[in-house]
Every structure is written in structure tokens, then in C-alpha cells.
């Protein structure tokens, strides 16, 4: 599903965010990426959707080498990947329904034609129909993250990438959100979650990649 070969990313000023990272994530796997702040977790995820380009190495997504993918093709890559952020990244001037419709809208589907699909995604993440017309600011943090997850899964991507998705949530909501990712994974979607929370890692017992100072230092399979 995802393969990295000797990937290095150097930011301006010579900051080495990733150094010679190689890994392989199989289709349908659930993988945690962990490590202290500044270890390169976010950079690694950004490289997978070409929000950043590697300075060295190759990245393959579903067998396609994306390293030198032209800019015009990047949107098509991102449509295959659902992304969830710590700060939800919802559009505050759009309703819950419209936010979830966004990936389908950019793919050219009018939201009224895919109404059922959007409602299904929202129900799957536990959002009640009464909240469909609300704006993100009217929801709790946990609900906002659920909406963000619904947006990530609505286009049925084969890969979900989440960067510290529970960073802003309390322990109860953290479990609910992580359960949701597990449920999505059980349905066959590959899930990669970056987290620095050891409690989550020990509770869910999934394959865990440890990053330190930009290097992959451990690959634990429970």
C-alpha cells in the first residue's frame, strides 16, 4: 500500500526532518507512527500526500511512485487518501453536511446527488442527523473530529492518514475516536495514525513505527 525507500527530507537551514527512512505498510494494515515532538512524524505523513516533497528517496502509494508526480496530478493522489488532523481543519462557514461533502464536491459530485453517501458517513462516525445542518463551532471537539473523520472516509479512500487525531481530545473522546479508526480499518481501509500518546499504543496493540530525530529506530509488531 505504502512503501518508502531511503527517504530524506531536509528543511531550509539544514534541518534534517527525516533521514533515510524506509518502510512498508500493507493493504488493510493499522499502523501507529510514534516518537517525541520533532521526530519527523508529521513530515512523514506530509510526504505521503505530497504536501512536502522528499529530498532523497522514493515513495510508492498503491504501487505508484509519487516522488516525481507532477503538481497537476497531486489532487488525484489526495483523493485516494483521507487525512485527519489534530486541529480538525473544518471550514467554519460550512455546515457539517457541507464539510463532509467537500471531497465529493471537488471530485465533481453535486452534494445533493450523494446525499445518502454523506449521511451514511456521518452516521458511521456517530453524528446525529440533527447536527447535519450545524456549523463546526456549534459542536464539541469530539464531534468536530468525528466530522473530520467522516470527511476523510466519505470518498471511500483506500488509505486514511491521521496526524495526532486525539491531541485535542479528552481521554474518553480519545477512545471513541480511536475505536472509530479501528472500525474503519476492520472494513478494509489501511490506517496510519501518528501519535505520541503511549496509552493509545499500548491499548490498541497495533504495529508501531518509532521515529527519533528523523530516523526510523524501531518497527514493533505485537
Amino acid at each position: 500500500m505504502v512503501q518508502l525507500f531511503g527517504v530524506t527530507k531536509i528543511y531550509p537551514g539544514g534541518i534534517r526532518a527525516l533521514e533515510d527512512v524506509s518502510l512498508r505498510v500493507e493493504k488493510g494494515e493499522f499502523v501507529f507512527i510514534t516518537g517525541p515532538s520533532g521526530a519527523g512524524k508529521t513530515t512523514l505523513l506530509k510526504l505521503m500526500i505530497l504536501a512536502e516533497r522528499p529530498d532523497r528517496g522514493e515513495i510508492l502509494i498503491e504501487g505508484v511512485n509519487i516522488t516525481r508526480l507532477p503538481s497537476s496530478k497531486i489532487p488525484h493522489l489526495r483523493r485516494k487518501v483521507g487525512f485527519v488532523f489534530q486541529d480538525f481543519k473544518l471550514l467554519n462557514d460550512r455546515t457539517v453536511f457541507e464539510n463532509v461533502a467537500l471531497p465529493l464536491e471537488v471530485m465533481g459530485y453535486p452534494s445533493r446527488k450523494v446525499k445518502k453517501r454523506i449521511e451514511q458517513a456521518l452516521r458511521l462516525v456517530g453524528i446525529e442527523p440533527r447536527a447535519f445542518g450545524l456549523y463546526p463551532k456549534q459542536l464539541s471537539g469530539g464531534e468536530q473530529q468525528r466530522v473530520a473523520i467522516a470527511r476523510a472516509i466519505v470518498s471511500s479512500p483506500s488509505l486514511i492518514i491521521a496526524d495526532e487525531p486525539t491531541g485535542n481530545l479528552d481521554p474518553q473522546l480519545t477512545l471513541e475516536v480511536m475505536d472509530l479508526f479501528e472500525k474503519i480499518n476492520l472494513a478494509g481501509t489501511t490506517v496510519i495514525v501518528a501519535t505520541h500518546d503511549p496509552a493509545i499504543i499500548s491499548r490498541y496493540r497495533k504495529r508501531t513505527l518509532h521515529l527519533q530525530k528523523g530516523r526510523l529506530v524501531a518497527d514493533e509488531v505485537p
Binding site: R78, R79, K89, L90, L91, P103, V106
Partner: protein, 287 residues
Amino acid sequence: MKFLRIHKKAFSGPYLFGLAIMALSFSLYGFFLVGLENLQTAVQSWQKGIKLVCYLDPKLTEPQRQMVIDQLSSKLGAKEVRYLSPKEVKEDLMHQMGAFAEGLEVVEESFFPPSVEIAFGSPKSVQELESLAHLASQLNGVQEVLYGGPWLKKAFEVLNFFKKSLWALGVFLVGVSFFISASTLRLVFYQRKEEIEILRLVGATESFIKVPFLLEGVFQGLIGAALAVCIANLSVLYLHENLPPWLSLYLPQAKVLSLKSTAILLGLGMCSGLLGGAIACIGSDSL
């Protein structure tokens, strides 16, 4: 058609500020355009009514005078020939001078030479008037020929100057509007940085993101130019109400911007907005 959407937050502060500045700069162009059109109308109405005035020798006998009038009528292709006796010349002059004519009352009628006013069926160019005046002055019994030629020539020169200035001003104002549009849309881009980032992350193409901005630029230019058309037209109507009476003779009706000029202004507005939007889009890639 969802693709051709305008952003929900389109009418934000910087956008409206840019729109106001564009409206003002296009209003300036609108003033020039409408001014030129009114000047053109005034000159044309003056040109249409222009007459050749031939002053006759006062010593001419009645048959001699009639012969000169007949010759003038036939040789110059006149539509209308009107003989004015010295008394009529004095009355005409007093009428034209209005309140300033008091001093003329004491002047003897014999001081004014008899004259012939010649009107033409179609408007004559300055050159045509010159040659007709020359022809009339060659006739025996004609002492002097007057016509508005030199003034008409000056009016045409002013008109041409206006036309050239209009081009230069047009180019300048389109440049200014384009710059304003590009700057305000760039600000709008920054305002929506997060929205653009999210759209990119969910797989929106650059055209999906940028076309609305281009449309907003076009819309900004169009609305700015439309406001300018309204401002220019309202101003000309107001100014016409307050024209001095002597100028009202040549401009009996205020002329608002013609359809062609309105289309030019709106077109320029849209083009500068589109260009501004395009420049703002090019600069947005780094966001």
C-alpha cells in the same frame, strides 16, 4: 455549475475596499467618456447650425442686392438664404447679447451693414466652410464673410485632444484597477489561506480553487465599472441642470453614456478584474 461558484466569504473588507477604489477610478474614466460624448454632441449641433454671414455693401441698390443674394444662393448650394436689413442685424445682435445689449440701443441702425445669412442642408466640414466663404467673398457687393470656422476648428482640436487623452487615461486606469484588483484579491487569498489549504488536502485541483477567485475579480471589476457608469451618468445629469444658459443652447439635452461607452467601461472593468484575479492566483501558489 458548482465549479463556477463564488466563495461564500467573497464580500470581505479588502474586497469591498478594492471594489470602491475601482469604482472611483472607473468613474474618472466615465466622466471623461461622458464629457467627450456631450462635447461631441455640442460640437455637432453647433456644426449643424453653422451659417455663413455675408455682409453686403450698404450702397447696393435693391436690384443689385437681389442679384447678389441670388448668386450666393445658387453658387453656394444654400438651403436657406435670409436677408437681414441693418435694423434686423441690430435687433439680432441685441437679442444675442441679452443683458449686455443696453449700450447698443444708442447706436444708429445705419452703423450695421445689411447682411445675408446662408444655412446649409447638411453639416459642413471646416475645409468646406473655408472654401464656401472664399467663394462668397469673391462676389461683387460682398464686403466681408464671417463664419464659425476658426472656432469650429478649435472645437475639433479640443475634441481630438480629449479623444487621445481618453486613450491614455484608459490605459492608465486599467493598469491602476488591475493593480488594485490583484492586491485586494491577494489579501482575500491570505484571508482564506486555511480554506485553500483544506481544499488542496481534500484533492481540489488548482482550477477548482482559483476559478472562483478569477470570477470574484471579474465580478469586482464589473460591479466597480457599473457603479462608475451610474456615478458618471448621475453627475452629467446634475451638471446639465446647472449649465449656464449660453451653453444649454448647444446641449439642450444631457447625454448620458452611450451603450457603446457603457459596454467599453464594463468590458474594461471585467478585463482588469480578470487580470487582477489571474495575477493574484499566480502569487497564491506558495500559500
